[in-house]
């Protein structure tokens, strides 16, 4: 029942928030995200003692054999935890900001949280599809209503892109559904291996394109930098911190076990595309002068490594992927928070106009440096362990792939440190001299993030244990 509660809390809170006025929406957002976090922690506890009690199933559409079936395994729980933490952090950071029509803003944010949790918990293919689409709609409205100048065409492109991908996946789902002996959408019958190998070969692409657009993997990434740039920063945090994980999650939960032979056949192609993405996005990130676009491209590069790791077919890289899914979410949200803070103070996005902030706001500088180190996977930060495991898995799969992908780390250091240098060091100018240092809520949020970064960097064992059930399971299917 806790699982259902996890979906219901943001859903109900979101619907209520539409009707609130004044500071009601803010309070509601905080309360709902705190409640979500509490329930997630409860589920975490229950997962250790009685994991079966997290499964819930009820009849939905008997004519189709579709069930409202939700549950949590290690991976689902990890992503729900990431969602709960992220939304809480986001709501704390924006507590001082006043958005126009705040009730709609907070309502849509909470609805997107409900959709995301639904995706991570669905154990029925049709339910998964419904949540997959539902997570998209609120984000579309959030970007279009509160975004930058070019928001309407940009988010429209984003919407049509992902909608087209989803529809391809829908055909794949229908096809597999018709192949299952009892005509059912349940996870068990989807993974029972009823799809013929020659079908798996083309079905793979229907699913992979849908997931690749969401992640995004080269060459399906073109919507992403524009959307990240134009969206309001809290929404960018949701997009880059959590929504891209939907694509990775989809591959691990709904592609590898359902179409193992298809994944095996095309793993080389998928990895090559991912690695091209790493190098390509890193190179573009180096020459970006817009800080939001720089982080957007850096996200493509990181996701590229994760998507390559999925297809290497060994347990180590999957463990790395799991850890990195969580850590990437935390780190990139940390970066966006700093961008949000700088943008809020100085109203600029161009790196060349910044500089010298360290003298006037040492707090910002310390946190930016720490989070940037985590972003380039320095040892003792949380980014290290995940990337190390993934590279090691990639190395076992193919040395050359690993060597090329490894360039991404060097390039990553180039653009990240370059950004740090341009933002906080160097000559200050009239504008940056006015920068004020962190305030209470910002300090709180960034401290939480840095604590997570350091703790998981030194002692990642609890995280590895949490996801071990999933990584072992995936390894069996090949």
């Amino acid at each position: 029942m806790l699982t259902v509660l996890l979906i219901l809390i943001p859903l109900v809170a979101g619907l209520i928030t539409f009707g609130l006025k004044g500071s009601g929406p803010k309070a509601m957002g905080l309360i709902a995200s705190l409640a979500s976090l509490a329930v997630t922690l409860g589920a975490l506890f229950q997962f250790r003692t009685a994991p079966a009690s997290l499964q819930f199933s009820a009849n939905w559409i008997p004519q189709l054999g579709a069930q409202f079936s939700v549950g949590l395994d290690g991976m689902g729980l990890m992503l729900c935890l990431l969602t709960a933490i992220s939304f809480l952090l986001i709501f704390i950071v924006i507590f001082n900001r006043d958005y126009e029509r705040a009730n709609n803003f907070y309502g849509l944010m909470l609805l997107s949280q409900a959709g995301l949790v639904g995706v991570f918990t669905a154990y029925d293919a049709l339910l998964f599809y419904v949540f997959w689409e539902l997570a998209l709609i609120p984000v579309y409205f959030l970007c279009s209503l509160w975004g930058g100048e070019k928001r309407i065409p940009v988010t429209f492109k984003f919407f049509v892109y992902t909608f087209a991908g989803s529809l391809l996946m829908l055909i794949g789902l229908i096809y597999i559904y018709l192949q299952t002996p009892e005509h059912s959408f349940s996870y068990a019958s989807f993974t029972s291996g009823s799809v013929a190998p020659q079908d798996q070969s083309w079905l793979f692409w229907l699913f992979f394109v849908a997931f690749a657009i969401k992640m995004p993997v080269f060459p399906f990434h073109t919507w992403q930098p524009d959307t990240y740039e134009q969206s309001p920063t809290p929404v960018t945090m949701v997009l880059s911190g959590i929504m891209v994980k939907m694509g990775l999650f989809g591959v691990v939960r709904w592609l590898l076990p359902v179409l193992p032979k298809g994944a095996y056949m095309w793993s080389d192609v998928a990895i090559v595309l991912s690695i091209i993405g790493i190098i390509y996005a890193s190179c573009i990130a180096i020459v970006q002068s817009d800080i939001k676009r720089l982080i957007a491209y850096s996200s493509i590069a990181h996701i590229g490594l994760m998507s390559a790791a999925i297809f290497t077919n060994n347990e180590q890289s999957l463990q790395g992927l799991m850890v990195q899914m969580f850590n990437h979410g935390i780190n990139i949200i940390g970066l966006w928070i700093i961008v949000e803070i700088i943008q809020n103070r100085l109203k600029i996005k161009n790196l060349n106009e910044m500089g010298g902030i360290a003298q006037y706001a040492p707090g910002i500088a310390i946190f930016l440096v720490t989070i940037s180190f985590a972003n380039i996977a320095l040892p003792l930060t949380n980014g290290f362990i995940g990337e190390f495991l993934m590279f090691s898995g990639l190395f076992q799969y193919n040395v050359w792939f690993m060597a090329v992908a490894g360039l991404g780390v060097i390039l990553g250091a180039v653009y990240t440190l370059n950004m740090v240098q341009k933002v906080i060091f160097g000559q200050s100018n009239q504008l940056t001299e006015t920068t004020t240092d962190l305030k209470g809520n910002e300090l709180l949020v960034l401290s939480i993030i840095v604590v997570i970064i350091l703790v998981l960097g030194v002692y990642p064992k609890p995280m590895l244990e949490l996801v071990s059930s999933t990584t072992e399971l995936v390894n069996k299917v090949y």
Partner: protein, 457 residues
């Protein structure tokens, strides 16, 4: 049978109501009351047919399927009356006549869902068509309306001729009008009958505005008074599809003969999807966009006609309901607007939030977004086509078209929410808003539990 009799009688009642009742508001209430009686009479028949079906004189067969479809058609008309019934007054003086004509169309639709003889099929199509010619030209003051009427009449009667020719050929080949006795599926394919089937396919494609027989649709839908377009594009079109699917799935199925028309219909379907969706992208008027959208949606419904399985039958029922309700809703909102272009919707979210939210739900349903009825409607027809096996190419075309359709449907949402402007509307009553909310609730309810409808088949 009950539905047929009650709707025909209701038409007569409405004609005379015009003589004795001069208050137009009251005429609307009479029409709503009479329609409720028809709906009740239709549902009452469920008890008389029991589990099976009942045939009347070899001409009409009433089954669960037909009663369910009649209920959907009558229910959608009820929503139409409640939402847009008052707009009849703006068209012309003879409000009761319009209601009478709509009841006659409904009796044609109930005949289309129950015929078991080719003669009855012909009658059904004619009874549906002729009142429409009059409704299209109801606004006598605007030349566009008369043009629409004349165009529709000329093209319509031409296609009727083709329909009749097809029926004659089939009769010549088999010696019977009775659908159950045609026996076309067994043995060798009769060339004469095949010609008849193809002519029938063309004529019915014309009636449901499938490409390349769709050219009348945009002009007629655009020229007709908007209230009547709303009815013609939805309930009437669904009626055409029910005739289509019943005759083709009921009589033309067989080892060899299915393949002979299936490919032809598959090509018609693909053409309809592509032409409908691509042309809708370029429209500047929402009314014209909806005309092309109705062609595009017809393409999706044709998927159900091409695929022969239970998913197709379930799909056509859901699609008829989802599409009719959503489109009637959008038209009802549009009638209240001063300007029918996309720009006319600019800023509606600020001036009329309820209208904007409900329109968003209707538009999402048409685009096939989950949790709206339109998603499961699309889901079922796509499943039917995938299950067919040899039509995967058509499914891919359909899915690409569905993605394109999001483009022009979302333009309405963009105009309402993201563009600056002051959308001018006629005064909006609380009752109208309430009715819109109820209609949107139906769309969402069917989108979460499509089983509510399907359990009756």
């Amino acid at each position: 049978m009950n539905a047929l009799i009650s709707t025909a009688l209701s038409g007569v009642v409405m004609m005379f109501a015009g003589l004795f009742v001069s208050n137009k508001q009251r005429i609307k209430y009479i029409a709503i009351f009479v329609l409720l009686v028809c709906l009740a009479a239709n549902l009452a028949e469920l008890s008389t047919i029991g589990a099976g079906e009942r045939t009347f004189y070899g001409m009409i067969t009433v089954s669960h399927f037909s009663i369910l479809f009649n209920a959907i058609a009558l229910g959608a008309t009820l929503i139409f009356f409640l939402l847009s019934g008052s707009a009849f007054e703006n068209v012309g003086e003879h409000v009761s006549d319009y209601f009478a004509l709509i009841f006659f169309i409904l009796s044609g639709i109930t005949l289309a869902s129950t015929f078991s003889s080719l003669l009855m099929l012909f009658l059904a199509i004619e009874i549906i068509s002729i009142p429409q010619y009059i409704l299209a030209g109801a606004d006598k003051k605007t030349p566009k309306s008369s043009e629409a009427s004349l165009k529709y009449f000329l093209m319509g009667s031409f296609s009727t001729g083709i329909l009749l020719m097809g029926i004659t050929l089939i009769y010549g080949a088999t010696g019977t009008f009775n659908v159950a006795d045609l026996g076309l599926g067994a043995g060798k394919v009769n060339t004469l009958a095949l010609c008849g089937i193809i002519l029938l396919a063309f004529a019915l494609s014309f009636k449901v505005s499938a490409a390349p027989f769709h050219f009348w649709t945009p002009d007629v839908y655009d020229g007709s008074p908007t209230v009547f377009t709303s009815f013609m594009a939805t309930v009437v079109k669904a009626g055409g599809f029910i005739a289509f699917i019943r005759i083709f799935h009921g009589a033309f199925i067989g080892e060899r003969i299915t393949a002979d028309w299936q490919l032809l219909l598959a090509i018609i379907t693909a053409a309809t999807l592509i032409i409908g969706n691509f042309t809708a992208v370029f429209q500047q008027s929402v009314k014209r966009m909806l005309a092309y959208s109705s062609i595009a949606q017809a393409g999706f419904m044709l998927l159900a006609v091409v695929s022969i399985n239970t998913h197709a039958t379930q799909g056509i029922i859901l699609y008829a309901a989802a599409y009719s309700v959503a489109t009637i809703g959008i038209f009802a909102v549009m009638i209240k607007l001063k300007d029918y272009t996309f720009d006319g919707f600019n800023g509606l979210a600020r001036t009329q939030p309820v209208l904007a939210v409900t329109t968003t739900i209707f538009v999402c349903s048409l685009a096939g977004i989950p949790l709206t009825a339109g998603f499961f409607a699309k889901y079922f027809v796509l499943t039917a086509a995938v299950e067919q096996g040899n039509l995967l190419w058509l499914v891919i075309v359909a899915v690409i078209c569905a993605a394109i359709s999001a483009y022009y449907y979302f333009r309405v949402i963009i105009a309402m929410y993201f563009k600056q402007g002051e959308a001018e509307t006629a005064p909006i009553s609380g009752g109208f808003k309430l009715m819109l909310i109820i209609t949107a609730a139906i769309v969402i309810l069917l989108g979460i539990f499509p089983g509510l409808l399907l359990q009756f088949i």
